[in-house]
Symmetry: C2
């Protein structure tokens, strides 16, 4: 039975008094509900279209458009109203403007946590990654698989729900939130015990999340905001700044942009908490790839573009300085906040400025500030001092009292083990179970999913992919230690989860049983989370 | 007071009945004892020599020799009896033959866990790493720092105990194990409660460890044995094998070499346990660096060496296939053992073959097999089946009973949390606290020690470098969970530690208090460990 039929029959059977509401909710396959929120390929039409190749289904939904291999061209054509499928070997933060303008994204490299996959999921754009049979040639602007070549401008269609790439423009079916679906969500909303919030970084995401029942934002990733076309240049300038004065000058500009972002998001979520996570990725992620840059420099030198080459060389030098052997465990999150305090200062000030502005407009804004990658209390205390000083400054400036909760991610193993200490300063916790799973298993998700993990699942060394469903015995055990130690120090503490597991039904069951306050999921997975949370609550 | 004076006065005061033995042991600064085991720079002589530059002190001891920038040349000159200081930007496993032939190693990149540092420490060779002010030019075979240039063949002297590089041949002082030092070690040996073993991979290392009081080997890294000049080529051939038949053919040759290695080491440690850890690093570590290889290919193509270029290209392709974004958390240890079972089969067979051979010679050999990077019971059970089959096969072949304990490293966080499960199959545990610290903090040691860790120590965010001294609150907490859960499932289980912390006095205190069975340390740190263990035991 497809999702629409499942929803309809459940509501019908309650109407006909064949089932009560609880049983009607219990029979729903929560996972399938996502089908109802995305465009799907018309199943009849696929038969008349050639399947070019298959990749990893990274972000659900179907989309057709013209094949474009160049980021700048994709942005321009998208702005001009064309439907574009952006095809790249892999993507980088500087490519994000093209994501906004594309109907879908297709890459030949990377796994489910590659840049392309994560950004596309956050935007709700269809995306296929790790399509390793697809050979892309940037010189000729073509790609080839199974003997067929796609040229720039040819129509293709991707199905991000199953990883299939079709030649031509395959008809797709528009999603529709039916009355029956709304009824199911209402019943589930009443039955569930834990909260459901959204991982959203834009006002649009926040509005959509709210429209499908999300009560607040559990994770607003501030670095996403640096990827806008008007910001990435400024952010790179900040990284390249040679003096602290230069860096602060650029940060002041970025701070104004962040404030206006926060104002819009807080407004969209009025009346509900919005958890704003300060900068998390390592700085080198915002610079171009060193190998590509070296190639660009060679080209510029051949063309005798001396000035451009010199400036590219400076960036290359900085990118090499910042490069890391294991970036996942390197200089990022609060570690950047401590070594470059002016960055977190700017972000914290932008939150308070936005809160003060909205208080003046009588908007019920409820921002919370969350620190990533924390491994010890002293890191948190260090940032809390900055927070306290800025709070005082802004309250004085606007002659008002502001309430902005201060909390921490629990995504580093040591944070889970020392949760009682952290709870002395943190007013709330949020589990980042993606990183926590990486740390607990010593698995780099980007490496293991493409290397040995499939074999582990096949040989049943692991029963499930721990990145899809919480590993109850290991990661779950650490979460339980953190919850009990945290609440011992601060009873009734708000503790949520904002990793991708927040939208997985099995994991939601575990979150309910462990006494979490809420789960936070991608906007498109909120209905799944609401139904799964209800199922956990009504289960015997 | 220097170490020699400290030792002498302690013994003298006991002789003169001014102190009892316990107080005499308690007043010793264990850390300083290492001075007595290495060549030191003659303090008078340094005044007349120019200090060229300073780097990170990576392996203690002083050595002078001629500056050589080429690995092959260093090996040849060393074999010809010259004193050589090998100077490289960084080193790779394929460079290890040159380590054997060099008096000391100096690199411009990397931290205390870089390849050069770890290998040099294991061999007891003086080494300085991360000397970032030293600019090396492989084209002209020179290096420059602070305006001075050292040419190939110029004499330089390095002091691996403090990181100083001197121009010229600075006189050094030979170490001497005095009667007083032996007396102190005897007293400590009697007073301590926990065992002290060695991290050693060669018969020489084992013999030296035994001579200074090491009772067994806690960590024998089998991959080190693949780095010998006669093996690295075979090992690369194994990685490049295109069929399983080809791979097994090469593995049979490697198996014979491993058996003879094990025979020698087990003999050198007769009567004591020797813990043999199966292959740990990712396979790509044994291949040349892709960027260097690409450069080499360009040169070969210019020279029209078509055949060599083609073979280098094949290796480059494989190196790129195996490359990882976060190698520390990737395809290594038991994960390689499961996906390429023939490698672990070869190693396990070599251990049993060596054990059977020595049993036939009436040598009391006590090998133990240890599995690295384990995160779940099913991994261990999977390898245990291979172990059981080979044990049966060899016992039948030699018509004998063999006792080879089967155990696991506890170096992945999940292994610590699920220690009760692992103890159902593992007969012993050994904490790999270097990796466990990396996993607990999400710190990549190679990155953080060169980036933010110094600032963390300076700002007192961390009281101590957790890679030097066990982080009692976080890593120690996990160890205590693992010890109590492990011994609950298997009472009196042998549990040791073989990370570098095993040679650190503060960490040894923690190990004693936690009820560990033994610590395992670099041979040159064994006297320190013995005295520190005694101090832990006699402390009030």
């Amino acid at each position: 039975m497809n999702a629409a039929a499942m929803v309809k029959t459940s509501v019908d059977m309650v109407k006909e008094r064949l089932l009560d509401k609880k049983r009607a909710l219990a029979r729903i396959n929560a996972e399938q509900l996502e089908q109802l929120l995305h465009r799907t390929i018309d199943p009849v039409a696929t038969k008349s279209h050639y399947t070019l190749v298959n990749g990893i289904a990274a972000s659900p939904g179907a989309a057709g458009g013209i094949a474009i291999f160049d980021v700048k061209k994709a942005t321009e054509l998208g702005e001009a109203g064309k439907r574009v499928i952006l095809i790249r070997e892999e993507t980088k933060p500087e490519d994000v403007p093209a994501f906004f303008e594309s109907a879908g994204i297709l890459t030949s490299r990377g796994g489910k946590t590659s840049h392309a996959a994560v950004v596309a999921r956050g935007m709700g754009k269809p995306c296929i990654v790790g399509c390793s049979d697809l050979k892309i040639d940037y010189q000729t602007n073509t790609c080839t698989a199974n003997g067929k070549t796609v040229k720039e401008g040819d129509m293709i269609t991707i199905d991000g729900s199953n990883g299939a790439v079709y030649l031509g423009d395959v008809p797709t079916i528009e999603p529709r939130i039916t009355t029956d679906f709304k009824t199911i969500l209402e019943w589930a909303q009443k039955a569930k015990k834990i909260g459901v919030r959204a991982n959203a970084d834009t006002p649009e995401g926040a509005k959509f999340a709210r429209s499908v029942g999300g009560h607040g934002i559990g994770l607003c990733r501030t670095e996403r905001m640096f990827n806008g076309r008007d910001r990435i240049g400024l952010f790179v300038e900040m990284i390249m700044a040679e003096t602290i004065t230069d860096r602060k000058r650029v940060l002041t500009k970025l701070g104004k942009l962040q404030k206006s972002d926060f104002v819009k998001i807080l407004k969209a979520m009025e009346g509900y908490p919005v958890t704003i996570r300060l900068l998390d990725p390592p700085l080198h992620e915002f610079l171009p790839d060193p190998e590509e840059l070296a190639g660009k420099i060679r080209t510029l030198e051949q063309k005798k573009s001396t000035k451009e080459a010199a400036s590219a060389k400076k960036i290359l030098k900085r990118a090499r300085e910042l490069a890391e052997i294991n970036p996942m465990m390197g200089h990022r999150g609060v570690r950047v906040g401590i070594t470059y305090p002016e960055i977190y200062e700017m972000q914290i000030r932008a939150v308070f400025e936005a809160a003060a502005f909205l208080a003046g407009k009588n908007v019920d804004a409820r921002p919370q500030i969350m620190i990533p990658q924390v491994s010890s209390l002293s890191e948190l205390v260090h940032i809390k001092k900055i927070y306290d000083a800025i709070k005082k400054e802004i309250q004085k400036k606007y002659n008002t009292k502001l309430r902005v909760n201060f909390g921490t991610m629990i995504e580093v193993v040591r944070a889970a083990v020392t949760a009682d200490e952290l709870a002395s300063t943190a007013e709330f916790f949020s589990f980042g179970t993606n990183d926590l799973t990486q740390g607990t298993f010593s698995f780099s998700r980007e490496d293991v999913e493409g290397k040995f993990l499939p074999e582990y699942l096949e040989k049943e060394i692991l029963g499930r992919n721990p990145f899809q469903s919480i590993d109850v015995g290991g990661v779950g055990g650490l979460m339980e230690i953190a919850i009990s130690r945290g609440r011992k120090a601060r009873p009734k503490m708000e503790i949520g989860i904002c990793g991708e597991h927040g939208g997985d039904p099995n994991s939601i069951l575990f979150c309910h049983d462990s006494g979490l306050s809420y789960v936070s999921a991608s906007p498109h997975r909120i209905p799944i989370a609401i139904v799964a949370a209800a199922q956990a609550a009504i289960r015997k």
